[in-house]
Each structure stands twice: as C-alpha cells, then as structure tokens.
Symmetry: C2
Subunit: 336 residues, 2 copies
C-alpha cells in the first residue's frame, strides 16, 4: 500500500485514545454555541528550548505554553462530562532520528489531563526541530472573553505568580543544566549550598515545565471587568503592550514583584540582578491582569498586587522609592 514512515506513525496515532478526530487533512470540529478562540505558538530548538530536550518534555511544554494564551483569554470549560474544552492541531518538523512516539504519547497524555482533543496536524522533516501548536476553544459557558484592552485608570495590577524564575532556568540551561524525566543535573558550582541547588532545580523545572493558569483565567472571565494577558516575553515587554491596548499608563512598585524562594541567592550565583531578571527574563507564563480596586483574586491563586493603572503616558517603575522610566528590555522574538 506504499505505507511509509508517516503512514505507519499515523496508523499508530489513530489507535491512541483521544485521536478520533484524526483522519483527513482537515478536521471537522463538532458544532458549538458561541464564538471560538484560536491561538498559535511555536517552540523551536535552540530558541525556546535547549538542544537535546526530551521529546516528552517538549510536547508538554508546547501544550502548556499555548494553554497559557487560552488562560489569558478566559480559561477553559470543565472537561467533566467528556466534552472537549479545546482542540489542538500540531505541526511538527523534525530532524532524522526524532522519537515521534515519545512526543505524541506525552502530548496525548497532557491533552487528556487538560481536556484538549488532538484534531489534526502536519509532519515534516527539517534540519531544525520545531513544533507549532494551534488551539481552538469556545469560551466557557457564562465567561466573558478576556482582552488586554480592558484596563482602566485606578485599577490594580496583579500577576499570577513569581517572576524571573523561568528566566533563571533558561540561563541555567544555557550553562548546561538539564531536565530529564527523573533528574535535573546542574552546571558546576551550583550544587552547593543545598538551598541554592534546590532553587536552581526549581528554576530549570519552572522554565521547562510551565503550567498554564487556566483556573485563574476562568475566574477572571467571571468578573464584570478585567484585562489580562499572559507573561511570555517578560513584564518589561508585556506590560507596555497591555497598557497600550487599554490606552492607559501604569505604575509598578519594583519591591512588590513576587520572587521565588531562594531567587536572590540564585541570581547572585548567576551574576544577575533579581529585579532585572524578574522584569526581563521572560517565559514566566503567569497571568498579568488588572482588576477594579474593590476586587481581588482568591488567595488560593497565589496572586500578587504589583501596582496600579494610571491615566496614560509611559509606564513607570518605582524602585528604591523613586520613579524610573520603564525599562526597554525583555524578550523580542525578532531581535538576534
């Protein structure tokens, strides 16, 4: 029947649970009420993750990074009852020798855990390992779509978790730290003291195994008004985007930026300023959001208020008690 490697892989894939929609080149999604959300993100070896990363870790990261965009736009419906809250299409470009089975087994497992259904894809050879995931999801019932544009002067600014830890993890990975299914070897000089080693391992884990804040996004989508986005390029780059979309300014207190346990010592060991890394490290994958001053997220979400929305003009960073111009730093996807 002329079945090559691709046909054999697809035949295996179609036998896995949760792949009922795979078949023709085009997926037919079940009808749903209301409008759909769509988002796409790529993960490229040497750019978004270090060479040699296990295919299973890449697959889970790919899904979580994309789910983070859905978290920022309203979260997902409850998967209980068997309905798929989101559909995924994956385009995977691989050099020879890539372990497709490990990649897809992990992707399907992560999809099942988050209620996502794999609906289609495209396979290709490439000298550079790259994966692009598209997610499609209706808004959860009763949810408002979250946008960047809904911040108003007087709102409070919040972040959904600590900043800079993922950036530290990237620096550690660049120095040789690795994450495998059961270990996270560190670069030399970071094994002592044990508290530093723990902080370093957590940073690598945080960098390579992000968790989209879906429950927080779903909660925000139930508020009367909230602006939101996910922090993928660092607060320094992303906050001005939210401010510009809302046509507002912002005032952030550097001292309030939430930092992970042991982050200061880890930054010392890496020769970086903790606040700089928190602002510009990127790939935090926590939500940045604004709420009216009389609203606050439940404590369970572990959010931190970092400042307020102002009338307009450039955002301001208050550091050591005095206002500074907003730092022009952070992750730019087109800069070398």
């Amino acid at each position: 029947m002329g079945a090559g490697g691709e046909d054999r892989l697809l035949a295996w894939l179609r036998k896995q649970p949760g792949t009922e929609l795979l078949g023709d080149d085009t997926a037919f999604l079940p009808p749903t009420d209301g409008s759909w959300r769509a988002t796409v993100d790529s993960q490229i070896e040497g750019v978004h993750f270090p060479a040699g990363l296990e295919p299973s870790i890449l697959a889970r990261r790919l899904l979580q990074v994309n789910l983070s965009d859905l978290a920022a736009s309203g979260g997902l419906s409850d998967a209980a009852g068997g309905a798929a809250p989101a559909y995924a299409l994956v385009a995977l470009s691989t050099p020879e020798g890539f372990d497709h089975h490990s990649f897809f087994a992990a992707l399907l497992d992560e999809c099942a855990a988050t209620g996502v259904r794999l609906a289609g894809g495209d396979l290709a050879r490439s000298p550079t390992l790259a994966a692009t995931l598209t997610l499609l999801a209706p808004l959860p019932p009763g949810a408002r779509g979250l946008h960047r544009r809904d911040a108003r002067a007087g709102d409070r600014l919040w972040v959904g978790g600590t900043l800079g830890e993922s950036g530290a993890g990237r620096l550690l990975a660049a120095r040789g730290a690795r994450l495998t299914s059961d270990a996270a070897p560190l670069p030399e000089g970071l094994g002592r003291p044990p508290a530093l080693a723990r902080a370093a391992r957590r940073a690598v884990e945080r960098h390579l195994r992000p968790r989209a804040q879906l429950a927080l996004g779903r909660w925000l989508a139930g508020r009367a008004r909230a602006a939101a986005m996910d922090l993928s390029d660092g607060l320094a780059r992303d906050l001005p985007r939210l401010a510009a979309a809302s046509e507002v300014g912002a005032r952030v207190e550097a001292e309030t930026l939430p930092l992970a346990e042991g982050f200061g010592a880890l930054c010392d060991a890496l020769g970086r300023d903790p606040i700089d890394l928190a602002l510009a490290g990127g790939e935090d994958y926590v939500l940045l959001f604004s709420l009216p001053p009389d609203e606050a997220p439940p404590d369970d979400f572990g959010c931190t208020e970092i400042g307020e929305v102002t009338q307009g003009g450039e955002p301001v960073l208050v550091r050591d008690g005095s206002p500074h111009p907003w730092p022009e730093t952070g992750w730019d996807h087109l800069e070398p």
Copy 2:
C-alpha cells in the same frame, strides 16, 4: 515603551486592511452556525521550497497549500457580502534579515483575494525559515463535508488537473531554476528548444505557485456522495490513503493520467519517466475524488477520469494493457 522589532512589525501589520482581528495572543472568531473545519500545514526552506525563494512567493504558496486542504473538504463560502469564509493563523520562524513586510503584504493580498481573514500568529527567530499556517472555516451553506472515506465500489476516480508537473518543477528548482516576481531563469540546457523552455517555466511556476481547487471542492460538496482529498504527496502515496479510508480497492489506467503540454519532452530532458513522475512527483495540489458512475464534473473544471473504485484489496495500476501492483513510491514526510 520598550517596543522592539516585533512590536514595530505588529504595529505596521495592524494598520493593513483585513487585520482587524489581530491584537491579543488569542483571536476571538465571530460566531457562526454549524461546525468548523481546521487544517494546518508547514512550509520549510530546503524541504518544501528552495532556499532564497522570495518571501512574497512563499507567503502565497503557504496559503494556497492550506486552502487546498479546505478545497478537498468542501471548498469555501462565497466571500461576497464581506463575510470571511476562513480565518488564518500564521506561525513564522525566520533567520536574521528576513523581509517580514514582503511576506505579510503578500499574505494579506492573497488572503484578500481568497476571502481569508488573518486572525493571529506567532513570530520567532530560527536558523531555518519555516512557516506554519492554520486555516479555520465553516462549511459553505448547504455543503456536505467531503471526506476520504466515502468512495464505494463502482465509483469513478477523477483528478482535478495534470499530475507530475509540480514534481518536474521541484527537480528544476533543485537544478537551479528560480522564480521571481517577474522572471523564471532556467538551469543550463533547458532553454532550447523554446517549447521545452516554456514547459520548464510552467513547471517551476506550477510548483511554486499552486492554486487550490476551491471551486471544484465546493461543487463536489454539493453532490449526494463524493470522496475527496488533495494530492500533496503524489497519487502513488495518496490514492492508497483514500482507498484505505473508504475500505475499497482501485484500478487506475496509467494511460489516462493527465499530463501537461510538453511534459513528455520535459521529462526526457530531466531523465525521468513521465508516468513515474506523475505518480510520485508530489505537490500536485489538485483534487483526487470519486463520484458515482452517473455523475461527472462540469467540463470547466478540467477534470480527468483515471479509473474506478473496486471492491477491495491493493490498488492496481494498469500499464501497457496489463495490471501491475501499485507502486510503493511518493513523498513521505518522515523519510530522509
């Protein structure tokens, strides 16, 4: 405001017509009745197109290759009235120096010509130029979704246009033929006689500037029963996929395979057998479909009947009057 190259590009992009949906990381698609179709395809430099291809030609090819999957699943609604029949999300990974403006200007132009709305995307650096497009489209009103699985024994097999010409174009490109906005220089030895040069230029054009058969797909989606897929990996690889999905066999007459004018002489010059190239060249981007014997597509579509659907077993190729086993050849996306 910390605006880097990416923010500047997005600011320019949002000023172009047809980009109203661009903004947040997640696109909110307008509500629509019925189910959605979703498809994704990548174009990778050195794999799907030659290094040095103009960004504008890449952009148009990317869209048409993806539209070909929508053609095969039912075509598109009429864009008249301003409604968008399809939405696109593009993930673009580029080495330094890539001309994003040329790429996006051409992509938006091709989108406008086909009624597609650009709804989102993702930009990244990469050592390898690669573009992945996701298309989302409702079925046209009154259309059935077309699938591979609907062929029945006794149906006639058809193709929507000539085969192998794109494969010849790829061979020419590998030998140095190029296509620019206003010229198509050929490799040495293919400039004479003029008829050969014309056939070679048409082949390069066919390879790099495919046109999705949307109108044919729309017509097929109005039939009581039709199976369809688009020929992207060559008839040799793709016909068994349609047969397997429908659990039928097939009998194809090699002498009926439609070939482009001058294709035989071009194959002579390239040292290839025309039938082999028609079967295995790939990237034809015409529809392969089956229809009951009492139905035939209107002559305007330029379709050719190439054989019939049989009860089951391996497909058979009739060549020089005698049946041969189906050739195990064609484009496999995972083979080196």
